[in-house]
Symmetry: none
Subunit: 327 residues, 2 copies
């Protein structure tokens, strides 16, 4: 049904969006009816062949950015307008994150980039425009298989390889080992050891942030069990990053699960450029936990999430009794 005129659709879309021709002109040019062109363009858009980036920040968001960046001493914070798309603003985050990553790649700032995991990150990469990046390499920062060694469809690194043509290093291990002993064995294997060494030398780390709740993505994909989730929650966890569960002060909770994560340790990347891309109704707490850890130096999020976070800063400040904002 569709695969056939995918090319034609791309053609029509190009002429429309980039060429700036009217649909009627395109119809004439391609010898098709205007309605057909309209449908082709819709199809191309539908299929995600069209990516749009908007430069420049609007005032509303800049205020939030400044506030968050200042509060946690981030190198930067990017807030994009939330478009009403429900609790998980994937569209917004994908566009914003892809824009950030695209710029990083264009500037050639980092030749080796470490990549985390998660649904958001996956969307970001999906939204990334195809372009050849011969001089960049990506390395996975954590195992990405479920414990049953099934391939994880949300694995980001593979898609990155495909889209950028860059060299990519996959971590052939489960997300969580079955036991601490198992993990030791895994880490002892040469293949894995090499990837870990490489990961430690990355110049930039791009990660996602997971939340600990009914909608937790790791739960839905079978990465962890209900029981495990309850356990870390009991230990005080409110957020997750690179397989580590953190309490609201940004400290790793005491739970066996944390020691079974097959991932680079937060201490190993502390002080390096680490950027998180995350947002959504359920995420503010988790994001704040990660921010409190001071491991990340940059944050890409959406307006609604940012607003909630800023409100929580203010509430905290008021409760603390000290600060008072003017204006």
């Amino acid at each position: 049904m569709q695969g056939n005129d995918r090319g034609l659709a791309a053609r029509a879309a190009w002429l429309s969006f980039i060429g700036g021709y009217t649909q009627e002109e395109i119809a004439r040019k391609l010898g098709l009816s205007r309605v057909k062109i309209n449908r082709l363009i819709a199809e191309a858009t539908e299929a995600g062949l069209v990516r749009v980036f908007v430069e420049g920040n609007d005032a509303e968001c800049v205020a939030l950015e400044d506030r968050i960046a200042a509060h946690w001493k981030l190198d930067f914070c990017t807030v994009s307008p939330t478009v009403g798309e429900g609790p998980l603003p994937l569209r917004t985050l994908a566009a914003a994150g892809a824009h950030y990553l695209h710029n990083v790649l264009d500037r050639g700032e980092a030749k080796l980039i470490g990549i985390g995991h998660g649904r958001t990150l996956d969307e970001v990469v999906k939204y990334l425009p195809r372009s050849n990046r011969p001089s960049v390499r990506f390395v996975s920062l954590l195992g990405s298989l479920t414990r049953h060694a099934a391939a994880n469809p949300f694995d980001v690194i593979h898609r990155l390889a495909e889209v950028t043509g860059a060299e990519c290093y996959f971590m052939p291990a489960p997300f969580f080992a079955d036991s601490i002993e198992d993990k030791k064995v895994l880490l002892g294997q040469k293949g894995l050891k090499d990837v870990f060494s490489l990961a430690r030398t990355a110049e930039l780390y791009v990660v996602g942030i997971g939340e600990i709740g009914a909608h937790a993505h790791m739960l839905a994909t079978g990465m962890i069990t209900d029981k495990e989730l309850r356990e870390v929650k009991l230990a005080g966890a409110v957020g997750e990053m690179l397989g580590r569960f953190l309490d609201k002060n940004g400290r790793a909770v005491h739970a066996e699960l944390n020691d079974r994560a097959v991932a680079i340790k937060l201490e190993e990347i502390n002080g390096k450029p680490v950027v998180a891309i995350a947002g959504g109704e359920d995420k503010p707490q988790a994001i704040m936990a990660v921010l409190e850890s001071h491991v990340i130096k940059g944050l890409v999020t959406d307006e609604a999430t940012a607003k909630t976070i800023v409100e929580m800063i203010d509430a905290g400040a008021k409760a603390g009794g000290l600060k008072r904002a003017k204006q």
Copy 2:
């Protein structure tokens, strides 16, 4: 003037392009009039804040098409994805050319079509789907025999006759006459004179483009000798079309060979719909020469060749000094 609402413009643009809201919705959301939003988005677009990418092989080709068509003011240009089949992408060109020709025939745009020569054109016709075209006639635009009057296996017109069942007019003459006097004699013959008259009334001309190098097809088939080739090369020729050798500015070079070609003159078809089908590693220069002559109104080529041509445009523009820059 503008710096003021740059932020607002960015927000409006984001909501429109990423959020997919209608301008009216955005207006309501931001408490502004619809027209205002329209202008903000226009402003953002104008300022280059909005960047659109269209994925797909075809999309890249369209970019090349547009560029080439604009640069030489062509009625159209078709670029097909190169599939990596060596220096002469015959398969690609054949498919693309056949597709073009098939469309022309289907639309019944031209009832009398002039046909050039060359390996590429031959492949195009081979690739053409068999279908009865009772109302179309084809006429050869040049002699196609070697000087020894042997039948030329690469002659296109015969195959066309066979495939389409259309009436075809063959030009019973050598490609190049042995001398200018010989040519005069040939042109005086009734049979030939009639075909030439007919050729001048064609409504569409489809031609190939030859290159002047070690792989020159005319050399390989014995149409011309080494010595003749050296001669025109010395005179500045970089390409050939309908038996005429052109320099890089698209002007016929001063060489006796040019006057011995038994073919319709370029001046005779100037201003009429002339379409060239050509491509390959050795061809860019030759194609550009023909484009410079402004005799052709349409070009069918392959991606790799088009890319090279566009690069040469860019290089030329840079060398030439300032020129307008678009998008």
